[in-house]
Structures are given as C-alpha cells and as structure tokens.
C-alpha cells in the first residue's frame, strides 16, 4: 500500500518565499521513486504537507502531531527553522518515535542533542560554515569586517561561529548588529555598521532581511564589499541588490562535482528551480527516508530510523540524484548503497552532516563558483 511521508516546512511566515521550492525538491525525489515503481515492491510514496510557520512552535507541533497521528506518516522531512524543528523533535517526533530529517536546521545546538537516533540533517552545522567563511576572508586578505545577522538562533549561532573563527585567525570584527526579518527600514542597522567601519560587511541571514541590508548599505555608500552566509544565497538576491552584487562573495552548502551536475540535470528535467536555497538538501532528505525504508525492508518509523546512516554512508554503491530507482533496486536485492544525492551527503554520527560548501562570487550578474570547501 501507499506510504505517507510528512513534509513540514514554513509555508506561511517569514520563510514562505523559499519553502515552496524546498517542498518541491522533496516531492521531486518522491515522484522520482514513484516513477521508478515505488519502494518495497510497489508501494507508492505520498507527500503530506504541514505548515511549520517557522516561528510558532505550538502551531508547528499541532501540525506535526496531525501528520503523525492522523495522516500516519512514517517519517518527516523537515522542519526548516531550527527553533520549530527542535520543538517538533522533542515534543512530537520523539514521543512517537518518528524519524526526522531536516534539510535546513543548521543550528549548532543539534550537534550535541541526543534525539535517540531519530534526528538527522542534510545540511552541515553552522559551526563549520562560520569557520569556512572566516577562512575565505582571511585568504582574501580582509582584516576587519562588520557582521550583521538575522535575529534568531540560526543567525546568532552562525555569527558567533564566524566571529570566533575570524578573530582567532587574527581578524577584527568591528561590530555585530542583528536585524529582524521583514521590517520596514534597515537604515538604522546600516548606520551603526557604517559607523563601526570595516573593509567589508558580513551578512548572515535570509534573502529578505539580508538582501535589504545589502542594498541599503550599498545605496548609502556604507560598504562596497559584501560576504554572505547560506541563507542569503538565492535567485531572488541578485535582482534585488543590483550593483551591490558585483564582488559579493559567499558560501552555501553544496555538492562538488558529479553530485551537483547530476542534480542540475534532474531538476531541469523536472522543471523545478533547484538552485534556490535548500532545494537540494530537501531532495536528499526525502530520498534518504525512502531508501532507509527500503533498506529496512519495511516502511516503519523504527526501521527507517535505524537505516538512515547505512544508506547515507559508505560502503556501497554511490548514488546520485536521478538514480533513486536504481538505489531501490540495489537495496531490494540486498546490496548496499552510499547515497551521495544532490549534496554529497555524508552523515557523521547522529544528526550531523559533513557537507561541503561552495564558495561563490558574482560574475556578470550571476553566481559563479570560486571553489569548494
């Protein structure tokens, strides 16, 4: 029979502009499996969506509760924001023994959290991204920077990680100023940062607030060079910041080489915009859940939870985006797979992804890869 997998993302609220893409990514993996004949000899996968709102943990929990108890999902792909993810995990998923793979909850706090083997994520912890960003700055000869971050656990966590790493490498952080999402005006924040000075502005947040910070800072002539973290990366970014984009440098969790190329093919064919934030991670999260079920030989929460690490890591045949059907086949025949997917998935221990980052800059109005870290 059919198998339900929950997709819980902030369809309304501050992340509502990127979540449709993420859901599409996850569902793209599901249709791919279905098109190849499903898993467990013919079971089709259904996606059941729920709204995490990104900020309202009570509503998110009710949504998750509904997915698990009334829609009988066997696993959850989600949630998006670290705060609600933690709430769902602790109060709903763990209570019901349901595994979750979040594509985007990047807060370092998850690293040490014992979820009883139920929680995984396909994006790396911000602790690492902070380090990578600091390295990039140092290599580019930048010695002083002003930091701004979106005012939540993700933004603050990433900013703390970056600042520490950068200062440890001998750099100076002139000021750290948070900004709220979706507010009317960002001149005050930019004013403070400008007064502090610095060779560049480090923007850690989302496209919305981060983009506004960049364009305001550019317009006011406060900074000429911008560095950004993963949340700011997105198709919406370039058109809205205009000239400021030239010389912009940033990082985003990314697959190297074959994985990425294959994913481009897959999403282009499916007609999904895979280059937007966390689409690839969502694809991988969903794929992992399905493959784990196949590996367990049964679509049960416990079975999936026990097998995620097996399918994600070596040994086994490497599987990239678009090869899901083959992976199912291998597993069904008793073989092993090492899922690489769209982002070169590698899960280190429970809940932790050791992804790679793409360092990009903007060339001729488009993102270009500088190198991978």
């Amino acid at each position: 029979e059919d198998i339900n997998i929950g997709v819980i993302l902030g369809f309304t609220g501050p992340l509502e502009s990127i979540t449709p893409g993420m859901a599409a990514g996850a569902e793209m993996a599901m249709s791919e499996v279905n098109a190849g004949g499903g898993i467990l000899s013919g079971s089709m996968i259904n996606s059941v969506r729920a709204d995490s709102t990104c900020i309202d943990s009570a509503a998110a929990q009710a949504g998750a509760e509904r997915l698990i108890t009334s829609d009988n999902v066997v696993a959850i792909m989600g949630a998006d924001c670290s705060g609600v993810t933690r709430a769902i995990l602790e109060n709903v998923a763990m209570a019901n023994g349901i595994p979750m793979i979040s594509p985007s909850a990047t807060s370092p706090g998850f690293t040490e959290f014992d979820s009883g083997g139920l929680f995984f994520r396909t994006s790396p912890s911000d602790a690492r991204q902070g380090q990578v960003l600091a390295d990039i700055l140092v290599r580019r000869g930048i010695t002083s920077v002003a930091t701004t971050h979106t005012n939540n656990d993700y933004g603050l966590g990433l900013a703390t990680a970056f600042n520490e790493a950068f200062e440890a490498a001998g750099g100076t952080v002139t000021a750290t100023v948070p900004h709220e999402e979706a507010k009317g005006d960002y001149s005050a924040e930019v004013g403070a940062l400008a007064s502090a000075g610095g060779e560049a502005l480090m923007v850690l947040g989302y496209v919305d607030g981060g983009g506004s910070m960049i364009s305001t800072a550019w317009d006011l002539g406060a900074f000429d060079h911008f560095f950004v973290g993963d949340g700011v990366y997105g198709d919406d970014l370039l058109p809205r910041i205009g000239e400021a984009a030239s010389g912009l440098v940033g990082t985003v969790p990314w697959a190297v080489g074959a994985a990425a190329d294959r994913f481009v093919e897959v999403y282009t064919e499916a007609g999904v915009d895979g280059a937007s934030s966390y689409v690839a991670e969502s694809y991988d999260a969903a794929a992992l859940l399905m493959l784990a079920a196949q590996a367990a030989g049964e679509a049960t929460p416990a079975g999936i939870a026990a097998n995620v690490l097996n399918v994600a890591n070596a040994p086994g045949e490497e599987i990239f985006a678009g090869d899901l059907a083959r992976a199912v086949q291998i597993l069904a025949e008793g073989g092993e797979v090492n899922y690489q997917g769209a982002t070169n998935v590698e899960l280190i221990g429970f809940g932790e992804a050791s992804g790679s980052y793409r360092e990009f800059n903007v060339v001729d109005g488009d993102f270009a890869t500088v190198q991978y870290h």
């Binding site: 309304t12 449709p20 009710a62 602790e90 763990m94 706090g109 966590g157």
Partner: protein
Amino acid sequence: MNPTLRAFLLFGLVGLALLFTGFNQSWTLALTILNMSLISAVLALGVNLQWGYAGLFNVGIMGFTAIGGLAVVLISADPVPEAWSAGGLGALMGLALGAATVMAAIAVWNRMQPSLARVLALIATLVVGYVITRSVFAPAREAIMAVNPATEGYLGGASLPVLLSWPVGALFAAGLAWVIGKISLGLRSDYLAIATLGISEIVIAGMKFEGWLSRGVNNVAGLPRAVPRPVELQGSGFVQSLSERSGIDIVEMASIVEKLGYAALFSVVLIMLIVLSELALNSPWGRMMRAIRDNEIAARAMGKDVKARHLMIFVLGSAICGLAGAMMVTLDGQLTPGTYEPLRFTFLMWVMVIVGGSGNNWGAVLGGMVIWFLWVQAEPLGRAVMELLTSGMAEDNALRIHLVTQAAHTRLILMGSALLFMLRFAPRGLIPEK
C-alpha cells in the same frame, strides 16, 4: 434561546469537534488541540478580565505571556556554574546598580521642586547611573555569553520543580504590569493599546537581546517536564496495562496519557480561575467594575478609586496571562523568544475574547477553544478546500498547480472567513454578556 442552554450547546459543539478530531484524525491530535485550547482559555480569561470587566484595551498580552514563559527557564532549568563564576556576580551587581539608578532618579524627581534644574538633575542622574551600570554589566554579560555559546551561554535557572514556575510566572507578569500600569493606565482606549503593545515589544526585544538571562534568540530547549515524557511512560506498568486493555498501541497510549496529564493540570487551573472570576463578577465588585467601565467620570464622583481599581485589574489580568505563558512554555518544553509575535499572541487572543463574548467568562473560555481549534484545523481544511476546488481541473492545469502549491494560504482565508462568519451571526459574541 435560553442563554445557559445556548452556552451548553456551544461547549457541547466544541466537545464534539474534538471527539470528531479524535475519531477521524487521532486522539493525540485531539488532545494536543485541547491542551492549547485550555491554555488559550486561560489567556482569554485574563484578557477578558481587563477588557470585559474594566474596558482596558491591553494589546501587550504577548509581553506578559513571554515574561511568564521566562519564569519557567529561571525556575526549572539547571544552573550553569561556569557562567555564574564567569560573570554571575557582575551581572547581579549590574542589575542592582540599574535598580539603584532608577530609584535615585525617582528620588530626585520627587524631592526637587518642579523646575528646569529638576529635569537636568534627573537626566544627569540617569546618564551617570547608566554609564556606571553599563561599565559593570557589559563585561559580565559578555563573559557569561561566551561560556559554551552553542548550548549554554547563560546563567541557567534554579533547578526547582517546574510547576513552581507557574505562580512565579504570574508574579513576574504582575510585577511588569504594575510598572506599566503606573506609567500608562491614564491613557484611553487605543492610546493605551499602543503603549502596551510598545512595552510588550520592548519586553520581547529584551528577551531576545539579553542572552545571559535566557539565551536570547538561541532559545532554551529541553526544559524539565511537568508530566513524564511519553518515552518514560512507555516503560510504566500502568501505561502498559492500559495499552493492553484498550488495545491501543503503547506508543500512542503513552502520548495520550502524557497529554491527559497536562490536560488535567490545565483544567485545574482553568476551573479555579473561572470559579474565582465568576464569584467576583457576580458580586458588588463586578458591579463596581462595570460601572467604571461604563462611565469613569461618574464612577469617580461616586467614590470609586478608578485608578487603583484599574491598576489592580490590569495586574490581575496580566498575571493570568503570565500564568498561561508559563503553562505554555512548560507544555512546549522550550522558550523561543522569536515565537512571540503580536499576531499570534495578542491579536488572536483578542479574537478569542471578542468572538467568545467579552464580559462573559464562559464566552471567553469558549472563544479560546473555538478559535484555537480553527487556527489549527484551518490548515488541513484549507488544503481540502483547494483540492475540492481544483478537483475538476486537469492534473497539469497551471491554475490548479498554482492553487494547490499555494494551498497553505487558504488557511488564512478560511480562518478569516470563519471569524467573519461568527462575528456576523453573533456580533456580541457567541455567549454575550448578560
């Protein structure tokens, strides 16, 4: 229809809706909704106390709820000894200095004759006090927040039983309300509203920024539970035997038992509050409050100390909001300052009170339950509606795809329509004031 009968029917309907959820979706979902409904009902009681009894337009509910939630962390979380040794003393001294500054300022203001000199002296006191306070406080703050920032970075709590945080949360909120009330209760209607809204934004800004206290936007998760976790319950013989006898799977049974536990706790609080408020409302006290609400000038001329009464009501109502806030954080097991949004924590509460029937405790409680139910259930309903609407269209119809992918937003439309619908047919609330 007889109003009592009507009330019974309406509560019956809510019960039915929950039963329906239980049978059709699941019991744990029904209980989850019930639990938040109960908390919402408590909150609605608090708001109703202020608006329904006294006509105080408080739009700062969010702030009181949040500060009540803070109490849970301060009471029940484990202390962080390293943080205490890193900057605990400095932080406490900073707070003491801050308080001393305020007191000195008040003393200056009260002692001196009204004059320009007084204003200057006040400003001078504040500035000097601020500079000194900050010089002590800021380093301590930094030191605390530098202690293992990914998981700690704050002073932690007192490791006391979590239930104790409920009255403490109420107390925190009451204290805040007292200060706010002293400052702004002279304001009328919407002016009071924006003042309270502003102050609640200040509270939230503080909770986000002052990471040393409650980790700020880093959130505190994994707070102690008031009822054992389902995972623990699964091991208990009682739950196992329940599960065997009822034939319900042990995992689900444990969840159900846990949720019933919370429901029981919340119900006790709610019932106690209802009884107390009903007794108060149906007595000369309630009559006096209604008089004040109807016409302040006349009430004052009839010897009622309107200011004092307003302050008292404001403090009491806010304390109830604080209590509810503490209950909510206890239920969630985490404090996330970012969730405190006016829409969800203030306006939705107002909708509950007005839809339920302001001035009527039962109305407020009913409103709390109905609106919360809708808030949660509008989501699957919205999807269902969209699917129904588009069922006639081809699978790859662009409009259909657009509508289905945007289905989450029908939730808002549905919620709004339900609200408008209820207001249309009961403009004075589902259970209006007598």
